[in-house]
Symmetry: C2
Subunit: 226 residues, 2 copies
């Protein structure tokens, strides 16, 4: 079996991406990040999803993005917006997050050896306006990574797979359900209840998730507090 690194947040997208990668026949090595996110319970979801998919290994890397500041997802000084998406890049954008995550995935692939495939669940359709979720970013990253690494030098091309890139949220959900995913174990909310872990139902991430299930005509198994 070919080895692949799976970037796994514990959200709906990365869980679906993981099932797709598994069904393509890859031996999966999951990689999650504890980066100072206020929705730390997504790491518990990542562990549930990793077990559900049946990954070969799961590493949680500790990196300090909160110290950099500048995002509502990592700073308690900036509130998570609850009244729908505005225009432009939202305050929940974590500077260069996917860039750092993918860079670690490249390092993991190099250290693991004989691993040329990386899966990331980014999506350019319902993507909330983050610059690092666009196809042109993924394509430029792959090109750059092949110049950065021993794998690239040796002619073993690294491939960044983003199988959800051009799917709508409802298409992603239908794909996952068809592949047997139980979305009740995933977590999407940016601002969950600190006691119960229930999703707020009002942040951008909750809104997009809710609408995805509605559009797909599938019952949303998420526990919302509002």
């Amino acid at each position: 079996m070919k080895k692949a690194i799976l970037l796994l947040s514990g959200g709906l997208d990365s869980a679906t991406c993981g099932l797709i990668a598994r069904d393509m026949g890859f031996e999966l090595h999951a990689l999650s990040f504890s980066y100072g996110q206020r929705h730390g319970c997504e790491l518990l979801a990542a562990q549930r999803v990793a077990a559900f998919i049946g990954v070969c290994g799961h590493r949680i890397a500790h990196i300090d993005l909160a110290a950099l500041g500048g995002s509502a997802l990592t700073s308690s000084d900036i509130d998570v917006p609850k009244d729908g998406a505005g225009t432009g890049i939202p305050v929940t954008y974590v500077p260069a997050r996917n860039l750092i995550f993918l860079s670690y995935a490249v390092a993991c692939a190099e250290a693991l050896g004989e691993c040329s495939d990386i899966f990331i669940g980014v999506n350019s359709v319902d993507y909330s306006g983050y610059p690092d979720c666009r196809p042109e970013f993924i394509s430029a990253f792959q090109k750059m990574a092949n110049l950065a690494t021993a794998a690239g030098v040796s002619g073993r091309e690294l491939t960044i797979h983003a199988p959800l890139m051009r799917l709508t949220k409802s298409e992603i959900i239908k794909t996952g359900v068809k592949a047997g995913m139980d979305y009740a174990i995933t977590h999407s909310c940016y601002d969950p209840d600190p006691q119960t872990g229930a999703a707020c139902g009002r942040c951008d991430s909750c809104r997009i998730r809710k609408k995805g299930f509605e559009d797909a005509g599938i019952t949303d198994p998420t526990l919302y507090s509002a």
Copy 2:
């Protein structure tokens, strides 16, 4: 003054790069990494160099690359070679290290705001065969970073400056000495004496440094144990 991020290892190259950036008129925000390197004393050197250059701020980010394994610089299971450079990519190559460092620098620049310049002291001449020190990597990284970030989206182009790229080690040393650098405060050795911090004098990094001073006709102020 324009703000810039300076990647600062505490070695000869990044110190020289910092002086060049300062003399170009940038307000410098230094960024160093505690990444599980066996030559942790380079962080003390980074602090000395930051003070010498007169940076505006200095952040030391803690990231765990040792957990990934695969390099003599972070794993005690792999010895640092002492008998000169072999062929191919050396075992001291840390997978995707410069990629991760630059990704953090991009995140720092984004979080700092109004910062579009990043300095890195990579060098393709005496570079020991690391793939992530080549000009084509830096150029591809810059292109990719402008697609990854809010800065890029807003049309404020990020520039990755690598002013040492095409200089030999002796040219770097001459440049630094001319700009007033005191290289006694820098640290290059991969395997320093754990008690005294003295450079081993035999690893690739020591060999390249020694030869650089010889070629430049400048006295090497380094304390070597061999």
